[in-house]
């Protein structure tokens, strides 16, 4: 809807431009028209010219050939009325017979303003009388009362300005009215299209001049809604299926892990048997991690995992995960070193504690899984540019740059929607990436400074301080 006022503004500009163009165009046409008729519209000048070109000689009155030609072209006649006697003392040859030869003052006033026997007449002044030029009937229209109030004449410029302004205002109001009506019809349509783009449920009232478009939008919305519903249903069914399988696998797996864990410490077993049992126990743990990750990963993927975010001190949170691992690692096969600075003991972030603990556990577990003979694990929490960085690093077998590229670019089977043989397996790191994303953070992997694998989980810091989070 932001573009609509812009559109309206643009239409206004076009309207005003059109109005002014129309005005100037009309004035131009009027000018052309008047210019064309100017030669014919100067009978008064002709009369003046004839009056001047009529000379009195010994032979009597004589009109110049030029004036005679002009009268002839206009099919006009001329006569001179004597000043004293008010009789015609000179005339052209073509003076019609019905034209009187004697005039009273009243006749002269009448012919000056109007006509003699329907012949429009025009006068030219002379010392010895009044020269009258007559044109054929129907050739000129004369205004019989050519007088205006002087006040009116002086007001004409203002009057025209007001007239133009009133006209413009009227046109503007008509335009505004039609546009507002159109705008009202278009607005729900535009809103509907915007909502469609945002995947929101909409219904546009199917009334008015744009009802057909509204109906089409409603239809499109219904199609989208149905498709979304089906998709959601499929996703829910898939996530539920995964949750169900992972639930049902837990009890039998408990027994596999329980007995193998117990047998591993049985003193009556030979070393070879104990090794085999150890493999069963370790693989059981791998299946356990996979089942846990698969369930959570599918829920995160299909937005079925509710987030319970609270402001947490990330240092305490990471420290607890590290200590839990150390407490369980009785053989000390994976010593964990805490590299966070002692002076840095507070880094607040709005996180789902369980999910973040799971992500960190997965990263530590990842180092353990890929280094079966043991390795050192280094954990460090830092704060950089309002973000909290959690680095998990090891000095184990590590990872090559090409493997990093492959991990970053090969689609995971959980997310891959194409039939391709090149899919990435293993859910641990995928889950960490998903957890980072739901917290608006990021996750990168690479080669660490200790020669092993490096994973960095970055999360935005909370705007709240520690004291806000823990009121006294």
């Amino acid at each position: 809807m932001k573009s609509f006022p812009k559109l309206l503004h643009r239409f206004f500009l076009i309207l005003f431009f059109s109005l002014f163009l129309l005005l100037f165009f009309n004035m131009f046409l009027l000018f052309l028209f008047i210019a064309k008729y100017t030669p014919n519209s100067s009978p008064w000048l002709t009369a003046e010219s004839v009056a001047q070109n009529l000379t009195l000689s010994e032979d009597g009155y004589r009109l110049s050939a030029e004036s005679l030609e002009e009268l002839k072209e206009a099919n006009a006649w001329a006569m001179l009325i004597d000043e004293q006697t008010k009789t015609v003392i000179w005339q052209t040859d073509n003076l019609p017979a019905e034209i009187p030869k004697n005039y009273t003052l009243s006749d002269i006033a009448s012919l000056t303003r109007g006509y003699i026997e329907d012949f429009p007449t025009f006068t030219g002044e002379r010392d010895d009388g009044l020269l009258v030029v007559g044109y054929p009937p129907q050739s000129f229209w004369k205004h019989l009362w050519p007088s205006w109030d002087l006040h009116l004449i002086s007001q004409i410029p203002q009057f025209f300005l007001v007239l133009i302004a009133c006209n413009l205002l009227l046109i503007f109001l008509i335009y505004l009215l039609t546009n507002v009506t159109l705008f009202r019809s278009v607005r729900p349509i535009v809103q509907g299209i915007q909502s469609l783009a945002l995947d929101q449920e909409i219904y546009v009232s199917e009334k008015g001049i744009l009802s057909e478009i509204a109906s089409n939008i409603n239809h499109a919305s219904e199609i989208l809604r149905t498709k979304n519903r089906l998709l959601k249903k499929k996703e829910t069914a898939r996530a539920n299926w995964i949750a169900g399988v992972s639930h049902d696998i837990r009890t039998p797996l408990s027994m596999v892990m329980g007995y193998s864990g117990q047998l591993e410490n049985d003193p009556h077993l030979t070393d070879v048997q104990r090794q085999k049992i150890s493999v069963i126990r370790r693989q059981g743990e791998r299946i356990k991690n996979l089942v846990n990750d698969l369930n959570l990963s599918s829920k995160l993927e299909y937005h079925m995992q509710p987030l319970h975010c609270r402001t947490e001190n990330m240092i305490s949170l990471v420290r607890q995960v590290v200590v839990d691992f150390i407490n369980l690692d009785i053989e000390n096969l994976y010593p964990i070193e805490w590299l966070t600075k002692d002076s840095f003991n507070c880094c607040m972030a709005d996180v789902d504690k369980d999910l973040i603990q799971r992500a960190i556990s997965n990263l530590i577990q990842n180092s353990m899984t890929h280094n079966e003979t043991g390795c050192h694990i280094y954990v460090c929490v830092k704060q950089q540019n309002h973000t909290c960085q959690i680095q998990i690093e090891d000095d184990g077998i590590g990872i090559t740059q090409s493997e990093v590229e492959r991990l970053n670019h090969t689609p995971h089977y959980m997310l891959c929607d194409e039939n391709t043989d090149h899919q990435r397996h293993g859910l641990g790191l995928l889950l960490v990436r998903q957890i980072a994303l739901v917290h608006k953070g990021s996750f990168v992997i690479g080669c660490g400074s200790f020669g092993g694998f490096l994973a960095v989980l970055t999360l935005p810091c909370s705007s709240k301080s520690a004291s806000d989070s823990f009121p006294a």
Binding site: G258, R319, N327, L328, C346
Partner: protein, 236 residues
């Protein structure tokens, strides 16, 4: 080990899978627990408790004749003893519901035997701490009933904070307890900013329990993470 009396506690295990119950019994017996009874349903469990009087119950959530949460409510009506859920329902909502109803811990299947025994041991120590006898350390003995330390025949009283800190460390003997968990135990749910106070208290505890506080052998610092209390017979 100073907590051997806890191995005498009566434990009730309830799960609909008899094979799982057999395995749990086997794990717990191997760990030294003597008095264990099992039940495969709520009905069965209620029958067992009529003459068994458990001191710890390990329950499954999904039982054939009802929910483990309901069973917990019924068990708690008769007597107050710790309850641990051991279940395949791993949803955080289930966990919150269980803990919210008063469960002492919640373990999601599958689990490692070591994890189960450690958690059971921690719950028992926490729940029956008043029955805890003397804790023998390398250079001294802590008597929680009198809140004092006996070292070389001399008696040193423990302050309230020292007692709390030492109790938490003793309940987790041999395991690291984080700085945050210790601060929370001593100063409640607002533990931020007490790190220096904690260090001061630890120093005073060491003066009471260690022969040479600058070279501690019982109360060990785990740099950046927390502290570990080693009872007699335990080593780094």
């Amino acid at each position: 080990m100073e907590f051997d009396f806890l191995k005498q506690k009566r434990i009730l295990l309830v799960d609909d899978e008899q094979e799982l119950l057999d395995m749990l019994v086997s794990i717990l017996k191997e760990e030294g627990y003597q008095s264990i009874r099992t039940a495969v349903s709520i009905h069965n469990a209620l029958h067992v408790i009529s003459d068994f009087r458990p001191e710890l119950a390990v329950l499954d959530v999904m039982l054939p004749d009802g929910s483990g949460f309901d069973l917990m409510k019924q068990l708690k009506q008769n007597a107050d003893y710790p309850i641990l859920f051991l279940t395949a329902c791993g949803e955080s909502e289930d966990r919150c519901l269980g803990l919210g109803l008063g469960a002492d811990d919640y373990i999601v299947k599958p689990f490692l035997p070591k994890e189960l025994t450690l958690r059971i041991s921690a719950i028992l120590r926490r729940s029956y701490k008043n029955e805890t006898p003397l804790i023998k350390l390398h250079d001294s003995v802590v008597d929680f009933s009198r809140a004092e330390v006996v070292k070389d025949g001399n008696h040193f009283s423990l302050t309230a904070k020292e007692f709390e800190l030492l109790s938490v460390l003793a309940r987790n003997a041999g395991r690291i307890v984080t700085i945050d968990a210790l601060c929370e135990a001593a100063w409640g749910e607002n533990p931020f900013g007490y790190e220096n106070s904690l260090m001061a208290h630890i120093r005073r505890i060491r003066e009471k329990i260690e022969k040479n506080p600058s070279k501690p052998v019982s109360l060990i610092t785990i740099k950046g993470l927390g502290y570990k209390l080693l009872v007699e017979g335990q080593s780094l």
